[in-house]
Structures are given as structure tokens and as C-alpha cells.
């Protein structure tokens, strides 16, 4: 068994970043969802998921990310991704996730892009 996914959250002005470290499977996806919904309850409607520490995901984990995207659409918020491996990014494109969630190459680009989108 692998160690569970580790998460770190940074709250900034109008933006919360969730950093993942490890495998995003069903358990990992649920942990991300719990963190994301907690941040929504705190009033953060712009969330950035930094996947720099994640090299493997599976479709069960991604299906939970789709639930988060659905929730963000409901509350007129926004979930974005950055620092994806090329394979994870390709997988998100195969699934069409990029139509509903922005994908940025790195955190700097994400912050700049999200600030530009908010203004």
C-alpha cells in the first residue's frame, strides 16, 4: 500500500492553493474534495490545484475532481490546475476537463492568469 495523499493549503488574497503530494485515487480525490469544500465554506471561490507532487492519478480520483468542478460551477467559482505532468495534462484533455477548468503550466502563470481573469 502507498502512503496516502498529502495535502497542503495556502490561503492568499482571494485565492487558495491546494498542493498535492502522492497518488490521486479514490481516497486522494476525497481528501482533495474535503479540502476544496472546506475552502469554499471559508469563502474562497477561486481554487488552484497544484499537482507538482503528483505523478500518478486514476480515473476514480479524476471523477472526484469533476465533482469539485461541478460544485465550483454551481457557486460561480473557479477551479484551475497547474504543474501537471504531460501525461496527466493529456488525460485531462482526453476527458475534456480543460473546457471547464483552466490548466496552467506553473503556479506563477496560474496566479497571473487568474488575477487577469478576475479583473
Amino acid at each position: 500500500m502507498t502512503e496516502g495523499l498529502k495535502l497542503k493549503v495556502e490561503r492568499r488574497d482571494g485565492l487558495a492553493v491546494i498542493y498535492t503530494d502522492g497518488y490521486i485515487n479514490n481516497q486522494g480525490g476525497e481528501e482533495i474534495a474535503e479540502a476544496a469544500y472546506g475552502l469554499l465554506d471559508e469563502g474562497f471561490t477561486t481554487l488552484l490545484l497544484n499537482l507538482a507532487g503528483t505523478k500518478i492519478v486514476n480515473s476514480i480520483g479524476i471523477s472526484i475532481l469533476i465533482e469539485i468542478i461541478e460544485k465550483m460551477i454551481e457557486v460561480e467559482g473557479r477551479l484551475s490546475f497547474c504543474d501537471l505532468t504531460p501525461t496527466i495534462e493529456k488525460t485531462f484533455h482526453i476527458m475534456g476537463l480543460a473546457q471547464y477548468a483552466s490548466i496552467f503550466p506553473d503556479e506563477q502563470a496560474a496566479v497571473t492568469g487568474l488575477q487577469a481573469g478576475a479583473s
Partner: protein, 147 residues
Amino acid sequence: MSELGVLEETHLTFRLAPEMELEVRACACEMAKSIRMSTDKVEEVGMAVVEACINAIEHSRAADGQLHLGLAVLGSAEGEEPQVLRITIQDQGVGFDCSKLVPPRIEDNLKSIRKRGWGLKIIEGLMDEVNVLSGEGGTSVVMLKVL
């Protein structure tokens, strides 16, 4: 790719269990690396293998509780240069009717309670050729990745 011969072949059996997909992935990636497949392609092979295993874990209901992995390096007989990695994931479960599979669409998925069913679409998107054979004797997913 039918004219290619088998240069090297390995068969392994695993017990179907949560997270066994990571062990199977590691074996497939190791073989892909050994034939000097590019890093991005190795990762794509790994993701496709994870998805094939998850389908078997979730749906096979294999009485023997086993998953069989076949790894074959294909190449032309003359040069013996590896050209293709063939990965076969096989179970002896209950099988399913491939003709009834409906490819998922994100726009429908977002509105639906069930957000699953992406495995085969991901595999087909990441691999160069995929064949699924399923029936009463179980399911076999054969995936090819060109170097």
C-alpha cells in the same frame, strides 16, 4: 504491426486488490524503459495500465481473484530493434458486452450523478492501438505503444 515478431516476452500474475495497479504499472514501465521508450510515453503506458487494472478490480468479479499481465516487445526479425510494446491485461471474470459501452462525454458527466466510466476512453487516448475482447471467459485488453 502484424508483420512484427516477438523479441522478448514476460507473463506475470497478480492478485486483484486495491492498489495492485501500482505494482502492475511498475512492471510495465520497467519494460518500457528497458527498450528506451521516451519518458512521456512510459508515463502514458503507466496510466493506461492503471486504468486497465482498475477496470478489472472493479468489474471483473474474477472467481480466481487474479489478473494476468503480458508484456511483449515487438520488432522486425531482421534488425531485432524494438519497435512496439504490447501489453495484455487479462482476467477470467464475468466479462461484459463491449457493444453496450457508451463513451462518456464531460458535458453529460458534469450533470450526472455518476461521473465514472472513463477508463477505456483514457486508455484509447494514451495508447496507439487498443483491442478489448470480452466474453464469458473473461476480459482481455491488448494495448500497443509504438516507440
